[in-house]
Symmetry: C2
Subunit: 343 residues, 2 copies
């Protein structure tokens, strides 16, 4: 069933007459195209609202949509469209409109504004075959990037050098990088989201690469910790601990288990080895049109695993001032269980 039909059924159930959508990936998900704009969906019509900057592209690429070119403010444009919906309840994406934007929407008195969160995000969490194909292609390019970059890891090269080469490779072989690559050497590997610097690679240092590609809108997200000659034995032990925990938990995955339980299982294994306070982030996150989306694999997550979900599992151990190890894989869950996506 098509995406808009599925959403339409949800909207009907929520007893709203129309739904105003602004989240970048949500707009892209419903329009199957990546262009700046908002969507207003009612039971009869589907409007794509954009500015004159994108008018030519929208008209030629968005077939089946009523294209509305915003002349004045967004509110005035929406107010015009809403005249047909007088007195009706209209939903809006509460997580994607700022409070200031809501205050302006509220002045459109024709309709009653009703906040909703996560309606499309939950729908996006389950991937279809076409989406999975894009993700697998993005993974293939990311794996090729690791192979290429490993050869570039010579003493004296900087984190910024490798990061720049990563982007060049990803843009040559995929649409673009899914996010700015994380490239860290030595003790800087203890910063889970560190920014590449002018730090030069020295002998025996840890190397952490966290990369993703984008293909047809869809992202990949993988992390590798690479050991050069002369690495301390401690880091090998930490590496094996992480990979073992990851593998064991992947075996237990199936639809119906809670994502907070997945996080707990990985966390307990790392705590058992005495590194509990060194695993300073969640265990993973969904990946799709956004690099971070549902489900959230974290202690406070309320998500339940469903067939078709695609997410990362990325245990990491960070020793402040010394270094860190993280290994991130992407997993897909089906009725048969979980499997690592190879791409």
């Amino acid at each position: 069933m098509n995406r808009i039909t599925v959403l339409g059924q949800k909207i009907k159930k929520e007893k709203i007459e129309a739904f105003l959508i602004k989240g970048t990936e949500n707009v892209s998900y419903l329009s199957h195209y990546w262009i700046e704009g908002e969507i207003l969906l009612s039971s009869r019509d589907k409007f794509f609202i954009t500015t004159s900057l994108f008018a030519e592209e929208a008209k030629s690429r968005l077939n089946g949509w009523q294209i509305v070119i915003q002349k004045d403010s967004l509110e005035k444009t929406i107010s015009e469209i809403c005249k047909k919906l007088r007195g009706k309840r209209v939903g809006f994406e509460a997580s994607h409109f700022s409070f200031a934007e809501y205050e302006r929407l509220r002045k459109i008195k024709e309709v009653e504004w009703v906040p909703f969160s996560g309606l499309i995000e939950n729908q996006r969490a389950i991937k279809d075959v076409g989406e999975l194909t894009c993700i697998e292609e993005a993974l293939k390019v990311t794996r090729a990037a690791f192979a290429y970059l490993e050869n570039e890891l010579e003493t004296g090269v900087t984190e910024k050098d490798i990061s720049r080469k990563a982007i060049y490779f990803l843009r040559e072989n995929a649409d673009e990088e899914a996010f700015p690559p994380i490239v860290l050497f030595g003790e800087r590997t203890s910063l889970p989201h560190g920014k590449p610097s002018q730090k030069k690679l020295e002998k025996g240092e840890l190397v952490l690469l966290d990369l993703g590609a984008r293909v047809g809108g869809y992202c990949s997200d993988l992390t590798r910790t690479i050991f050069l000659a002369g690495i301390k034995e401690k880091w090998r032990q930490i590496y094996h601990l992480i990979v073992k925990a990851q593998k064991e938990v992947i075996k237990t995955l199936k639809p119906g288990i809670s994502c907070s339980d997945i996080d707990r299982m990985i966390r307990e294994k790392i705590e058992g080895a005495g590194y509990g306070r060194n695993f300073i982030h969640g265990s993973g996150h969904g990946v799709g049109l956004a690099v971070h989306e549902l489900p959230s694999i974290a202690s406070r997550s309320k998500d339940i695993l469903k067939a078709g979900m695609v997410f990362t599992l990325e245990p990491g151990i960070y020793l402040e001032g010394e270094g860190g190890v993280r290994v991130e894989e992407m997993i897909v869950v089906s009725e048969e269980g979980g499997r690592v996506l190879n791409g």
Copy 2:
């Protein structure tokens, strides 16, 4: 006077006891550092709230701040801090908190939440010498990138090839690209914000490059339309029309004139030549920590030019299905008038 002192005086005037800041560039502006987090500023304290992901970096780099590591939700963390402010009015950035986030803040009953917009954005619009130095350095790298890329414009090269080379160059010579480069060939130059594609360069085609670099957090933003051999005479005429309009308006700039007037002046010159409906965007925008910030040089802008403002002027003429020409310069205004920033 330091940035926080200036903001502190504004806060006092607004009769609020504290101010909660979330806008990425606003947080960076006040902390002089680029890290994910929120700031809560009161007359006595300055708190930097971040997650465990950035704890090590925050503690080592943010001197003079009380670093608060968010354990549970942001709301719980803020609620803890707000206990000291019981019964007081606390401002929040209405344009940077989503409606859903506001609904969660509102549950913190200790304080009264008061929405504010543009408080720090207006302060950021006036640049000091240090900021101007970064912008000029970013401009220098961008101009060097144009010279380098012009040499790469051979028949058969794709828009994506040139865009990838642009990023590589900008990351080699500056911190990073300020935004994904716009590279368009031939009739695709009629898309003001088109995305680089696999389109190959052919003889006699228009080339549009819109690039920016980032240095020390600060952006540059320049556009060049390049004519290869064999270009149609019509495009040369359009080019000269645009550059002439731009130059004449720059001469009239001085503190005190309204930004909507600047837009009107450029627009009238283009309308006068019969291309009014082909100039489909605003005339410019402020540039600083963000590529698009205050002042807005557009017909509906309420901004007034002040000494120290840095902004683009970017007239463009777009003929649907044929091509387009845009020339974007960056301008700084002082008591002496406006001048093109050379970098």
